[in-house]
């Protein structure tokens, strides 16, 4: 298998944790809230899913429980930032630290254990194509994530719900004046973002690398937040960004397989370095950020 085939086949699975978390954060930010706790929300989801699958509860229950527990932790964030109008940056950092701490605490006795992942589903015909065939052999969660991407895109493009979320993020005072429940919409968005981060963690620890280790999220929650900026708050671009990071994280494996003599630490840093680089390139275009950015992002709403 050539390096290109290897990356094409694995890219979507590697991208899925980024994609799920970033889709959630996209909705949160569109509603005008900045939740920086994604790393901790993912870690909590990861450990919950792992523990349930390890004890024979199955992957479906694992994902549901992960989504619910991370959504609950995200609701703590909502309670403090939306209920008490606390600084969203500081609260997000605290939720991140708390989530990672809880995950390490619950996961203590499961450290470095492994479980069985899930099987892959091939799309007949397409899967047999040369070179790109691998793209069409993926597990069910990858296929569902693609559907989720479409659903988020369609929600913002065509539905009233999408319109209300955008109105609340763009101009909460005007949204309130015409009768939209600003706080309720934001709470719901934050809970959705938490659930998606929980799914992302669950995928990371029970499907992609079916094991639990403290620190295994390894910055992926932070990269997901960066992806929302890369995608300039547009679903399609967030999806492309997630694919890019899926490919980048596989590149280190491909480089090692190809016998390239690079320090492994440099390869591990690659996703972080690419994040810094792309952030610089995208953000330098101030017009682009202004055009698609969310006007009230991070600001508390006061009537």
């Amino acid at each position: 298998m050539s390096a290109v085939e290897f990356i094409l086949a694995g890219m979507l699975a590697a991208a899925t944790p980024f994609l799920l978390a970033a889709l959630g954060e996209l909705v949160v930010e569109r509603a005008g809230v900045l939740n920086l706790g994604v790393e901790g929300l993912m870690a909590l989801g990861a450990v919950v899913a792992f523990v349930i699958v390890y004890h024979g509860g199955g992957h479906v229950l694992g994902f549901v429980a992960a989504g619910v527990s991370s959504a609950l932790l995200a609701l703590v964030f909502a309670f403090i930032t939306l209920g008490f109008r606390a600084n969203q940056v500081a609260t997000g950092l605290a939720i991140g630290i708390l989530g990672q701490g809880l995950a390490a605490l619950f996961g203590k006795s499961y450290e470095s254990l492994t479980i069985k992942g899930i099987g892959k589903i091939a799309i007949p015909g397409l899967a047999d194509l040369p070179v790109i065939g691998g793209l069409f052999v993926q597990d069910i969660v990858v296929w569902l994530s693609l559907l989720a991407t479409l659903a988020v895109w369609a929600t913002f493009a065509f539905t009233r719900t999408g319109l209300v979320i955008r109105a609340v993020g763009e101009n909460p005072k005007a949204a309130h004046a015409v009768g939209y429940p600003v706080i309720a919409v934001r709470v719901a968005a934050v809970a959705f973002g938490g659930m998606m981060a929980g799914f992302a963690g669950a995928y990371a620890a029970s499907v992609y690398t079916p094991m639990w280790a403290d620190g295994m999220i390894a910055g992926r929650g932070w990269i997901a937040i960066a992806l929302v900026v890369f995608g300039t708050w547009l679903t399609g671009r967030v999806f492309l960004g997630a694919c890019l990071f899926g490919a980048v994280s596989l590149m280190s494996l491909a480089a090692q397989a190809a016998g390239l003599n690079l320090p492994s630490q440099l390869l591990s840093s690659l996703p972080y370095l690419v994040t810094i680089l792309v952030l610089g390139i995208i953000s330098a275009d101030r017009r682009l950020l202004k055009l698609n950015g969310v006007a009230s992002l991070g600001e508390p709403f006061e009537r």
Partner: protein
């Protein structure tokens, strides 16, 4: 619209001084209560945990001296960060700046292991501080010139810094006689900061941290430049009209933060550790963010909050040994402490207004 039985937040006429002073101790009490509940759910004996975590650090001079030892880096980093936070520059990459400080400082004893003289440890501290500032300057450049979000860039750079440290310790800087452990050679005598009290590990860097706290107080409360920084944070538009440069404030905030964190990193390797190791930091860079907020972003408050956070570290170590509590409990405590503080501090600017009983009883 909102349910009738819920209280609403009403903005106070003026900020409440009482709430400002009460918020940190109240948050600490709430965090302790919540975490004790968690430990009881985990089946631990709450009396043993309270004794190990909250009392033991203060019961003997030797354990209190360890608290003072941990206070040094937390105090240094938090003072630097608080200046930036007041200017609304969110440098959350102190962990990476700390690591770079440790690496830069270690270069002297690793490259000149035979060198002797009183100049060595002061040069290490200075070089470490410059290393931290250099690492932070990448974030400043990205933010000022490229408009990139400093939260994300500084955090990514921390993850890169950790990899750089592992590379050095597994490669060029590994102790050849170290049985393949990821650590450098032990530093020579002159590369170690002198201790303050005989029989303890508390060293001169604590005095430096206190002196810099005083400097931070003078800078923020008395100097024109400190005033400009705070105006930029509180009222960016007004700062713009007054001709205060936003770029300058970002550069200054990040350089100060990086300098202080780098100094702290240097003081760790040139102090209690005596070598460059993989575990030079136990999350000081992140804990210092909590210290800065808990101290109300005020130089004097931060002296108190860094002492509290240091005691939590030592207490967590104690509880791991004597009450079989996983060390991750410290992170849970830190996170819940900041959350409790952020709720408590809301009452500085707001008060709760409960709906009248009469209004509640009407259907």
């Amino acid at each position: 619209m909102s349910p009738r039985f819920l209280p609403t937040l009403v903005r106070r006429q003026r900020a409440s001084l009482k709430a400002t002073l009460l918020a940190p101790p109240l948050a600490l009490a709430v965090a302790i209560a919540l975490n004790l509940g968690l430990y009881m759910l985990m089946g631990r004996d709450p009396v043993a945990v309270v004794h190990a975590m909250l009392l033991e650090p203060f019961l003997s001079w030797s354990s209190f001296s360890e608290v003072l030892l941990k206070t040094g880096p937390l105090l240094l980093i938090a003072q630097g960060l608080a200046i930036g936070f007041r200017a609304k520059v969110f440098n959350i990459g102190a962990e990476g700046q700390f690591i770079l400080g440790a690496i830069f400082a270690s270069a002297i004893p690793i490259w000149f292991p035979q060198a002797t003289g009183g100049w060595i440890w002061p040069s290490m501290l200075l070089l470490g501080a410059l290393g931290g500032a250099l690492w932070a300057s990448i974030t400043a450049f990205w933010r000022v010139r490229l408009n990139a979000n400093e939260i994300l860039v500084s955090l990514m750079l921390s993850l890169v810094a950790a990899q750089l440290l592992y590379y050095l310790l597994l490669g060029p800087w590994k102790d050849p006689a170290g049985f393949n452990f990821p650590q450098s050679v032990m530093f020579q005598y002159d590369a170690i900061v002198p201790t303050l009290f005989p029989g303890t590990r508390v060293n001169v860097s604590l005095l430096i941290a206190l002196a810099l706290s005083l400097a931070a107080w003078v800078f923020m409360q008395k100097s024109f430049m400190g005033y400009k920084l705070q105006v930029g944070g509180l009222a960016p538009r007004a700062a713009g009209y007054a001709g205060f440069s936003e770029g300058g404030a970002i550069w200054l905030s990040l350089l100060i933060g990086g300098f202080a964190a780098g100094l702290a990193g240097a003081a760790e390797v040139a102090g209690p550790l005596g070598q460059l190791q993989r575990s030079i930091s136990t999350g000081y860079g992140y804990a210092a963010i909590i210290v800065a907020y808990l101290g109300g972003l005020h130089p004097i408050g931060i002296i108190v909050s860094s002492l509290v956070m240091a005691a939590i570290y030592i207490g967590g170590d104690n509880a791991m040994v004597s009450a079989n509590l996983p060390i991750a409990a410290v992170r849970v405590f830190q996170g819940s402490l900041l959350l409790a503080y952020l709720v408590a501090v809301a009452f500085v600017r707001y008060r709760l207004e409960w709906p009248h009983a009469a209004a509640r009883s009407t259907p």
